[in-house]
Each structure stands twice: as C-alpha cells, then as structure tokens.
Amino acid sequence: MKETPLSNCERNFILKAIENKERLDGRQSYDYRRIKLEFGIDRGCCTVELGETIVMAKVSCEVGQPKQTRPTEGFLYINVEFSPMAEAHFEPGKQTEQANEMARVLERCLRDSRAVDLESLCIMAGAKVWKLRVDIKILNYDGNTIDASALCSIAALSHFRRPDITVSGEEVTIHSVDEKDPIPLSIHHLPLCVTIAFFHQGTYCLTDPISREEKVMDGKMIIGMNKHREICTLQMTGNMLLNKEQVLRCTNIATVKIVELNDVLQNALSADEEARSSGKPYGTYVADFRKVTVKAAESPTHSMSEIEEEARSMQLDSDRMEESEEEVVENVVKNSWLLRIKESKANEAQKVKDTICSEIDEFLTTQREMSDLQQQSIVNNSSKNNGAKGQDQDAKTDTKRKRNQNRPKKKPDTQSTAKGESLDSATSQTKKSKGKRKGK
C-alpha cells in the first residue's frame, strides 16, 4: 500500500500554524511529547512511548569470532525494523532507506562515539568475543522515531546484563543466570538524539516533529549528544540549505533538550532498579513522566531566545567552575577542554610525585637499616652480614613490586573520556584486564 500524501490544504494549514508558532497538538516549538519508558521482564528490553510513537528495543548477545583487524573488540549491531503494524505503508521484511539511515545514525551515535565499551566484550583475544545486537522495532509511527529509538536503545543497553563466564585454558563456560549473577555492560556515557525539523527554508524549526509535521518539513538535523555537551553524531537530511549560525543554534537547542532527556532516562533506570530490588513488581515497571511534560506545558512560552540563554548559562556555569580552579586563563569559554586536560595532568604529576617521594623514603629507611645492620655486623661477626644483605634484597624487590603496581595508575586515559560518568567503569576496567590476561 502506498503512503497517503497530505492534501495541499492540510499542508498549508500546518505551515501557517508553524509560522504563528503553534502546533497541532498544542505544544510549544521546543517541547517534547509525553515520554514513557517501560522495561520488560527480561533484562535489556525496553519500550519507549513518545506521544503516539512507540518503539521497542531488545538487546541480545551471543559469542562469536572477532574481526582479524580488531581481535580484542566485541561487536555492536543495530537493526531497525519498521513493522507494518506501525503504519500501513511499511512493508514487512523490507529494508527501507528510512530504516537503513536510522540504523546507521544510531550506530554512529552509540558505537562510533564509544559509548559502549567494546573491548570489555572480549572473552579470548582473537578467538571469542561477545556480539551484541540491538533490535529496534517501531510499533507505532507518529514521527520522530530517531529520538525515541536512541532513548530506547541506550536505556535497553544500560538495562541489559550479559551472562557471566569463566575461562580455564581454552575452555569457556557460560554461566546461566541461576548459577552466577549476570554482568552489566560497561557504558561510558549516555548519548541521546535530538531531532530538529526545519520549515520554510530553515526559518522555523521545531523539535520532536509528529508524522504530519515530518511530511511538511524541508529537512531535519539530527544531533546526538551526551550530558557533557559532547556531540556524538550530527546528520543533516532532506533538501534544505543551512548556514553556520543555524547549525550552531541547533546545537544550543540540543544541549538543553539533552539534559531533559538524560534526566528522564536516569530516573527511569533508577526507578526500575528500585522496583526490582523491592521485589514486588518483578518484571514490568512503568516510569511515567507525564508530570515532566505537563510542567513544561504549563510554563510560559519556550521561545528560541530563552532556550539559547539557558544553553549559554549552562555553558557559563561549567566554565565558572573551572575558572575557580585556575583563574589565570583568560578565555575560558574556548579553553575549557584544555583546562580539563591540564587539571588531569596536574593530578597525574602529583600522583607520580607522591609515589617517587614514598619510594625515596622507603629507600632511605632501608639504607638506614642496612647501615645499622652493617655496623652491627662489624661489631659482631661476619656470618650475620649475609642475612642482612638478604633482607636488604627482599626490601629492594618489595619496592620494585610496588613500582610495578603503581605503573598502570600513572597513565590514566586522559584522551578517551573527559570525566566520563561511566556507570561501572571501575569494575569494567578490572574485568577488561582480566579478560586480556586470559586471552594471552
């Protein structure tokens, strides 16, 4: 069945409404619809309702062979399916361009921004890795499926637990859930997508367009971002022309919206965790965020300038915090990143300094002991002298061991993540190192 086109009358009506800053469902230009997150009985299953749009994501994993070029990396594959139940013109089992593009944007957002730590999925280097697969199904279509499925898939990934394994030699045992507690994935940051639709050659823009607005729009800008204001993906689609200012304005809008979406996601995850730990509704838990949107609807007009000011104030806040730490740098707005790196380097230097100091102290004390012992030995007889040397050697090896222990701490990963919120990064790192050792 073919998609039913909009009549010219309706098209003009929608455009006219947008010109007057009004929308069909009474929202303001930059408001999101009601968001509802629902987790399934199984781990790694999540349903997101964004107004009338319903998206379901299910994470699954299996053991497979890694690529030869990347022997220690697992896989993350995202599959998007527009089911015919969502809208009549979606054909079953057909890879449409729309689904294809969505899957690619999500892959860039989740995988290429290294949100999911693929190296922690390694079981045996070059032989066995975990292959993650996120299946996204559009259950009902009413526009803005990308934002909904980005939220859905990152929620499902953070909710997912993979089975625990033990490796002995070449043999890998996968434990069932009853045997050993399954392990959460290590996720470094939570990227989410914000879609901004453009109308009238980019003069008017809206977030979270419904399907009728999508039919009228010139094009859209998809921005994937995390709460640290790091852009994870950026994609412009449709037939429209933008200038630089418009692009930067989009990122400002996205900054504000991402904070909202991020709160929704974290609240939903903690609410689900609470429900599960209290044990009463084992299985589905509904996290309803109607209040959030109702509040937004009651608040006076979310005009463009207001949102931009909010973004700017957020920017300034983050800068001010760093300024208090190091006031010398003048242009903090541009150098905030640099500062962060500097700060971490200073910490690093302090750590190194501390370890060196402690080593020197240790060395001095052992020397003192040694000289004491030597004096004793001179006073007494030569047979004890050997024993003292033996002790001294022991002490030396001790310090060496300590130095080796310190070494990995000396070079924390400064580049890869700036103060990543990493849900379980500490545990995951130890797991990673274990995995590698097993691999060798």
């Binding site: 070029t69 890879q95 361009e97 294809n100 593009e101 899957a103 690619r104 860039r108 290429d112 921004s113 290294r114 800008m221 971002m225 640290h228 204001r229 790091e230 852009i231 994870c232 993906t233 950026l234 994609q235 412009m236 689609t237 449709g238 037939n239 022309l241 933008l242 200038n243 630089k244 692009v247 930067l248 990122t251 900054t255 920017q315 707005v333 541009k334 905030s336 990143w337 640099l338 700036a418």
Partner: protein
C-alpha cells in the same frame, strides 16, 4: 594499535601537510566517451571515477517520476582493490545505500532540477583507491561529471572533511587521521552563498569545538571550489571546439554529437 603522532612539533602532519593544507587535487573531465558526462578526481591518494547519464526518461515504472522536477539517482560503489585490505564491498549493503542517499541529498541542492521535470539523472561513482575522505571525493567528482554532462547547476557543490588533532583543526583528512578515532566532520557546501547542503559528523566532539571545526571544513570547501573552477576553465579552453557560441546549450552529450540541423 600503535598510536601515530599525527601532528609533529613543527605543525606538520604525517603526510607533510600543514593543518589547513589540502591534498593535491588532480582532475580530468570527459574520461568516458559513452557517458553523457564523466570525471576522474584524485585527492591525494583517494581516486574516484564518476559518470553521469541523463537527463533521460525515468526508468523503472512511471510511479517514480516527478512532474515538478528531476529524479536524481546515485549509485556508489567501492572496488575490491581500493583499500589495503582486499574485500568485496556490498553494493546493496547498508553503508553504500546510505552513501547513495547522501550523495542524492547533496546533489539535489545543486542541480536546478525544475528544468528537468519528469526526467532522471543517473550518477555512478566508483572509488578506485581509498585513502580517507571518500565521500568528499565522490561528491566533488560527481559535481565535475554533472558539469561535464552540461546539466544546469546553481553552484559547484564541493565537499571537504575536517578533524581535530591535538586541539588543532585539520582539513582534508586522510585514512590514518580518519581512523585515529577523533571526530570527523564532513561538510558539503554551496560556496557562493556559503550554504551547507550536507553535513555529517561521527566520533565525539565537545560542542564548543564545533564552530572551529565547521569553519575549518568550510574554508576547505572554498579552497576546493577555487581549484575545481580553475580546472574546469582549463578543460574548457583545451576542449573549446565542443562549445561554439552559435549552438544553444543542450543537456546531454548524446544529443550534442548528433549533427546539428540548421
């Protein structure tokens, strides 16, 4: 993987370029006699062939034709021997179908498609050798091919990539820089009005750095545009016998080769 030092202390990149320096661009127009328009483009070690057929009648059912404007159809492919690892790239896979879509998007912005209502324009692009910035080279080559085919364009749409290395934005990214894992921004630009027709970014980048990176990519696009314009001028000078003042401009070469009726 061994980490490369992408920017040496004297501000030189691995291949000896300055951060804002483009790679050498070589172009040839009209490389295939059968096609209506064709071009060959080298951007450093990235080598691309593009051919254009059309405007012609819409193929594959009447339903696809548009009564208001032309339908542009792009077919991107990457040869098996183009990268260091020999592998056959799926012609109808996810990645190439995405690239096709993006090429169509960028070319739609440039082609004056209302002049070719109910017509179809086919653009076939083949990567012969790949060394980073593949999409940019493809788009630049297909623009040249469209020009060679004599299809009316609003502007020469040019494309350029940029990335950040050691806090510095670096233009026209090569393979090593591309695979280093830092954010890569691709911008397709209509240089006359400085309008962005295509934009994509992958990797992770702080929002404060976007403006810097965008400026860098746009500057790269402008420079590429200047080079391409110069090359097109040179080509026209040497092949000016095709372009006499008396003959009206015809859309395709197929018609051009026919004897003109007085």
């Amino acid at each position: 993987m061994a980490a490369w030092e992408l920017l040496k202390d004297q501000n030189f990149r691995l291949d000896g370029r300055k951060p804002t320096e483009l790679r050498r661009i070589e172009t040839r127009l009209g490389v295939f006699p059968n096609a209506d328009g064709s071009a060959y483009l080298e951007q450093g070690n990235t080598k691309v062939l593009a051919t254009v057929y059309g405007p012609h009648e819409v193929k594959g059912g009447r339903g696809r034709s548009n009564p208001d404007k032309a339908v542009i159809n792009c077919q991107f492919s990457k040869s098996a021997f183009s990268s260091s690892e020999r592998k056959t790239h799926m012609k109808f896979g996810r990645n190439s179908s995405e690239t096709n879509q993006h090429l169509v998007q960028a070319l739609n912005a440039a082609v004056m498609s209302h002049l070719y209502a109910r017509c179809q324009i086919d653009v076939y692009v083949e990567i012969v050798q790949s060394d980073g910035s593949d999409f940019c080279a493809c788009l630049n080559a297909s623009t040249l091919a469209l020009i060679d085919a004599g299809i009316a364009l609003k502007d020469i749409v040019t494309c350029c990539s940029a990335t950040i290395v050691d806090e510095k934005s670096v233009v026209d990214v090569n393979y090593v820089e591309e695979s280093s894992g830092s954010a890569v921004l691709i911008v397709g630009l209509l240089p006359k009005d400085e309008q962005i027709a295509y934009m994509q970014m992958k990797g992770r980048l702080h929002a404060d750095h976007l403006e810097k990176l965008l400026d860098c990519a746009v500057e790269g696009c402008r420079n590429i545009n200047n080079i391409l314009k110069e090359r097109i001028g040179e080509h026209l000078k040497t092949h000016s016998s095709h372009f006499t003042l008396t003959r009206p401009a015809t859309p395709g070469r197929a018609e051009r080769s026919r004897p003109a009726i007085a």
